[in-house]
Amino acid sequence: MSIESQYSDLPLVERVKNNPRPAAVWTGVFLALIALEFGAVMSTMMAIPFHVALDPLLGALPNAISAPLNGFFQFVAGIGRALAELPTLLDRTLIPNQGYSTPSGWEGTFLGLAPAYAWAIRVFVVYAYAFVVFYWLYRGYLVFRENYRYADWTPTDDMIDRFRGHTWGRFGLVVVFLFVMLALFAPTVSPTTAGANIDNPYGHTVQYYDADSGTVQNVTVGAANLQSKSVGDRQNFGIGSYDKYNRFHPFGTLTSGKDLFTFMAYGARVSLFIGVLAILISGSVALTLAMTSAYYKGILDLATVLVSDSFQAMPQLLVLIMLAVTLDGTWVAQIYSGALLLALIFGAWGWTGLWRAIRGPALQTVENEWVDAAESFGERADVLMRKHVAPYVIGYLLVYGSMNIGGYMLATAGLSYIGIGISAPTPEWGRAVNLGQQFIISDSWHISILPGLAITLVVIGFNAFGDGIRDAIDPQSEGAGAEEVGATGGGA
């Protein structure tokens, strides 16, 4: 406390200079953590299909401009690829789980362990790393708060404290965190990769030990998959099983013989991509409209009401099906097997509900005298709304947004289930549910049930997270309120 008052009017850099130790310790550890995974960060960046957006752009420009521009992009891409090649701690090759079993034991796996253990260790390391990074970021906030922050106390402190005491919200955060990490580290946590197992099975091979000849043989993944189909009581590879080629399937296999866990991990990426992009679009549209309509009121507000009502009056499902069908085969529908299209559609329709939800709070906040006061000393309209109204509305947006993300994922799964969402080969949980539904009362029940449970759990997680945020940002929910919600959450 006393240290802080000395720094009353120094900029942050000066404050850090005066007391560098906590910041240095934190930054050092953080950089070390990042260095472990730097290559993976870069390869994730490189996985974004830049060319889809850039190619039409470059094609549209005259050659004189597009040629050097293209050269520049290639140069950047080259650097990106080189960096993406850097070895990383969580690279799957560091703890390989694919090997073959010889009479003397396992060959090719991590420390000669059984693939199941090798895989479990790798998943554990990934999540441990992710949790440490997450904790360290939180720790960074605490370091800032205790050592460098200008103010002794801010309202955010209370929000974080309230969230920390909110059991149901914490449960949601954990589920969301597990899900996001599953998506982020899909290539690492999967027992095999999407490239080898799903996209191009005949272009990859897998080694196995042929007991008859006593030699190690190669077989294409495609051929191996044919032998590992889960097709009901006749042939099934369920949870935690090995197939004939010593491949480990933590969640079993699909009807095509592909690995379900790999399918789900990559499917999580699609869901997350759609959910996050859709919520960014709808959230920013809703916020912008809420701010403008709350500031200008009157006719503009009315016009927004009309537009949003017209959007809501359209039967969303039919519009979705219509757009999915009419746009089929166009370039938009091809990006990420239609995921971008779905995200755009959800975004274009999603803002109506969000805007409705924050319109009231925005109109209410504008009435506060501090808004008049800021206006009376000549604050510009956009700064006024951003600084004095938006902070009060963003909380609501977070709550509804986190709940809507779950809704978008559910809708994506639903659409994929009826065959108009994400097309093959891009994995999507809803398609797995669809594939497995005819085997649901057979041994191969896992094909439908596991993705179905996962969808339910993730949606519940996002809703719980939203609940937690809502109670955290509402100062009146302090104490008893959070306890009650926690109790019901635990019971449910």
Partner: protein
Amino acid sequence: MSTMHTTEERAEEEFLLSVEDLNTSFFTDKETIRAVDGVSFGIQRGETVGVVGESGSGKSVTARSIMGLIESPGKITGGHIKYRGLDAVQTFANRYSRSTADLTKGDEVGENDYVVVEERDGDTITEGYIDIANAPENARNRIRGSSISMVFQDPLTSLNPVYTVGNQIKEALRLHQGLRGREATAEAISLLEAVGIPDAPRRVKEYPHQFSGGMRQRAVIATALACDPELLICDEPTTALDVTIQAQILELLKELQDERDLAIMFITHDMGVVAEICDRVNVMYAGEFVERASAKELFGNPKHPYTQGLLSSIPSRNTEGERLATIEGDVPTPNEPATYCRFAPRCPKAFEDCEHVHPVLTDVNEDAQDHEAACLLYPEDVPQTEAVDRHETRNSAAETEVSE
């Protein structure tokens, strides 16, 4: 008539702000409410002008009209708000030359002109005004804060609870004096010290809820002063405070006025506060000014029955142990042009003509210096019928002027 006009103009040129026949109406589905109905007054530098009246009489709307803070469905429907701060006129004449009428170059004041240059010394403008009532929003925004600031009624709500007090003062400093970073913090601290907040370097980074009511109002005043205004509009700045703090805030405002030669427009319903701080007082009733006089004259010799009623309903002035006098009824909603006296239904001295003739501000008698009342009883030194006639003729004169 023409000579009278020039003398009027002469007088008005001394005013920093002159409001002429201001009309502000609110257009609701049911009716049009004429919240401010033909109000005129002026404020000189270093002077405090009070506007008193009951709740709903249009005081705050007058203030907000001057600030340009009237929001839909409200609108300024007529009149002029002439601001004569020379710096502002000079910058405005440069910036908005298209909307500037230069009388020295023989321009006429056109419909869209809101900057008027009246006198030049060579190239420098020495006399002129900005008509806030006719200025567009972006021009108003430039005047707000830099030339005219406002202190709001409730210090609890006029500071944003999510930003530190210093942050909010610095916001104004950044806008109007271009100060940033450490410089701005230093200036914010010195402003907090100027409004009498102890331990300002620590206080500057505290949140509004850590301040007491009186300190918060001081902080609000500091924010208003951060813009270095020439005119300060105080909209009931002491209403939410207890009496001792009230006295301190009034004292502070007086000090600041002496230091900075501020013109202050002080809105209140508290007659005690008026007596304390105002040089001249306007009494407002149902959107109109019903009496205006110097504070001393008004308290010593109130003329309008409404003012008399207001003063006799102050407990401390009436210590005889009698029942406290009240004015029966409420302020009517002024939803039509007045063709009668709006106070008549509540007036103990009302007579028949009050129902038919709209009183206008008139000198209360021949020798009265700067004391006017809008009541058919005045001027009191002429016979009643003649007085009524005067009001009637001035009314119809005003009407023909409008219809022109």
